[in-house]
Amino acid sequence: MTGTFTLLAIGLLLIALLAVLLRRTESVEDERFSQLSNDSFSGSLRFEERWKDIVERIFGLEDLDFVVSQGSKELLRLFLSERKRIALCWLSEIRNQARTAMRFHVSHARRSRKVVALLELRVALDYFSIRLKCELIAFVLLLRGPVALRGMVGQASHLAEQLRGLLEVASQTEAFAGKTTTQQ
């Protein structure tokens, strides 16, 4: 009998510990997203301009043309491999930001009383579309090599725009969830 009570007590303790850990993970995600949205929205114009410039540098043709004009195969090889590496870093950053925004949105939507189905559908579609495009660009990059970077500036810009939209929607959810939870 004492053994059963001990086991029950241990079980309850583990459940409580799990709940605390889950709450902590959520707050860490919230913190990450707040930092992300602060970086992105406090200087919204700066963020947008910086990302436009980065996309243009990585995927644009201007730098490539300049390196080609140097007439060295070795330089061209170095340039293309560096650009490929940076492009993959950029994709990874987009993926991370989208994942953070989505986790934040889901955790707040869970707490919210009124869940707008259309908004949820839009966020989910946007998120999966971003992930799919990231995988597609990464696949093309890995398959065709850095030459595939040529002319990808349009797709990359669109992807960055889409991420910005997702971040905006997720930050709106924060305000919305804040209102609904205070009503409780």
Partner: protein
């Protein structure tokens, strides 16, 4: 409180203007400016120090001005075209800030340029900058082997150091 903040912000603006007019304007190109500004940072504490500016303004205003100028110059170089970056680097090498061969070898082999970006800037921008400098060094190194640059008396390392 507002007046205090406004005064503090005014002091930073003044310090920044002073830094641009008296020191940075004397340097030949943005690369030299970046090297100079990065060198005003204490690598242990990450704090920017400049006795002249701290004397004329406050220590905090001087630090803010240096931080702000560093970020400004860095972002402008990091997001510039490769052609512009190569021109800036060539100008820096030509300005005789070090023995050109030594500078190119040291920067290529030990990647000494890694200390140039300001702390806490966007990691992707920093990576892009590092990558572009690596490519620019290869281009400048190649062109220098064909046409070694001359020395120019005005350069970052010949400026009076920011006495600590």
């Amino acid at each position: 409180m507002k007046t205090h903040k406004a005064l503090a912000s005014g002091a930073v603006e003044d310090a920044l203007r002073d830094l641009r007019d008296r020191t940075l304007a004397r340097l030949d190109g943005d690369f030299a400016r970046l090297v100079y500004l990065a060198s005003t940072r204490d690598y242990n504490s990450g704090r920017y120090e400049h006795d002249g500016l701290s004397f004329r303004f406050t220590k905090q205003a001087a630090e803010q001005a240096l931080r702000s100028a560093h970020r400004e110059v860095f972002v402008s170089l990091a997001l510039s075209t490769l052609k512009h970056l190569v021109a800036e680097l060539q100008q820096y090498v030509r300005s005789g800030c070090a023995q050109p061969a030594e500078l190119l070898t040291s920067w290529t082999d030990s990647e000494a340029y890694r200390v140039l970006p300001p702390a806490q800037d966007d990691p992707l921008t920093v990576k892009l900058f590092m990558s572009n400098v690596k490519i620019a060094l290869a281009i400048v190194g190649r062109s220098w082997r064909e046409d070694p640059p001359g020395r120019d008396p005005l350069c970052a390392s010949q400026l009076p150091p920011p006495a600590r």
